[in-house]
């Protein structure tokens, strides 16, 4: 369990950096089509902002923004977006993740539909990766709170 840091420098700089980290993560997600980056990297950077919040302001304040339950729900939603877009392409008569078929729904040309489909999948991947990374972080740093689970394993 991480307590809130009593160091004013660390807390102030973390408070300053977290919004910029989130903006940079969104930039990495949005530019995944044609520059280095993408859903996985953007999701990890998003999770890093929560980890920074956790180590500087304590787990209680981090839980108010992202609880374990919300992280599990968000990871499921991310996988649902990814699989849903792929299955939608199947339903519309293409292969799995054949984004060009989405043009029928979105009323755009197949090229634009490919771009938008990749963006949708990237957002799904980013949500899932961010939520799973947060779950791993919480699981590691709250291990001593539930010792009976671990004792039963030994």
């Amino acid at each position: 369990m991480i307590q809130e840091s009593d160091d004013v420098i660390v807390k102030a700089v973390a408070r300053l950096l977290v919004p910029f980290i989130v903006v940079y993560a969104l930039y990495v997600v949005m530019h995944g089509h044609y520059s280095p980056g993408g859903g996985f990297q953007g999701g990890v950077i998003l999770a890093a902002s929560f980890v920074l919040l956790g180590v500087s302001h304590g787990l209680e304040k981090t839980r108010r923004r992202m609880s374990e339950k919300a992280a599990m729900v968000l990871s499921s939603i991310g996988v649902l977006i990814y699989g849903g877009i792929g299955a939608l392409c199947l339903i519309l008569g293409g292969n799995y993740l054949d984004y060009a078929k989405l043009g029928k729904i979105l009323r755009v040309t197949p090229a634009e539909a490919r771009s938008l489909g990749i963006l949708g999948v990237e957002i799904g991947v980013a949500l899932a990766v961010m939520a799973v990374m947060c779950t791993v972080f919480f699981a590691i740093f709250t291990a001593e709170e539930s010792p009976e689970d671990y004792r039963s394993l030994e």
């Binding site: 160091d7 420098i9 660390v10 700089v13 300053l16 950096l17 910029f20």
Partner: protein, 116 residues
């Protein structure tokens, strides 16, 4: 063009000098805090000078604006990380190096016949 190249070379030489002194400090200074002091300051400013050299080399563009952003956040984050690490080390019981303690440690190793 010549002026720009000379500026880039000067900035890069400054960065090389600072990286060199920081690495020298890391290798030669006696304990954790002094080594952190050398690398924390030296690497931050060296990286800043290299980034400024890259920005100057690229001219006035979006890329150099991004490089300036990287420099600003590096300058914020790296001293904070150094501060947090040194604070954590001090709380975990790492004792700072002093001349008196160094002399004592030297005598101990000489009496035990061990190497320094």
């Amino acid at each position: 063009m010549i002026v720009k190249d000379v500026l880039v070379i000067l900035f890069m030489l400054g960065g090389f000098f600072l990286f060199f002194t920081a690495t020298l400090g890391l290798l030669r200074l006696p304990d954790f805090f002094t080594r952190l002091h050398a690398t924390g300051k030296g690497d931050t400013l060296a990286a800043l000078w290299f980034l400024v050299a890259l920005a100057v080399h690229h001219g006035f563009s979006l890329t150099s604006a991004k490089i300036v952003f990287i420099a600003v956040f590096l300058f914020l984050a790296q001293p904070t990380a150094t501060h947090a690490i040194s604070r954590a080390a001090f709380r975990c019981g790492v004792r700072p190096w002093t001349l008196e303690r160094a002399v004592l440690l030297d005598e101990d190793t000489v009496e035990q016949g061990g190497e320094k």
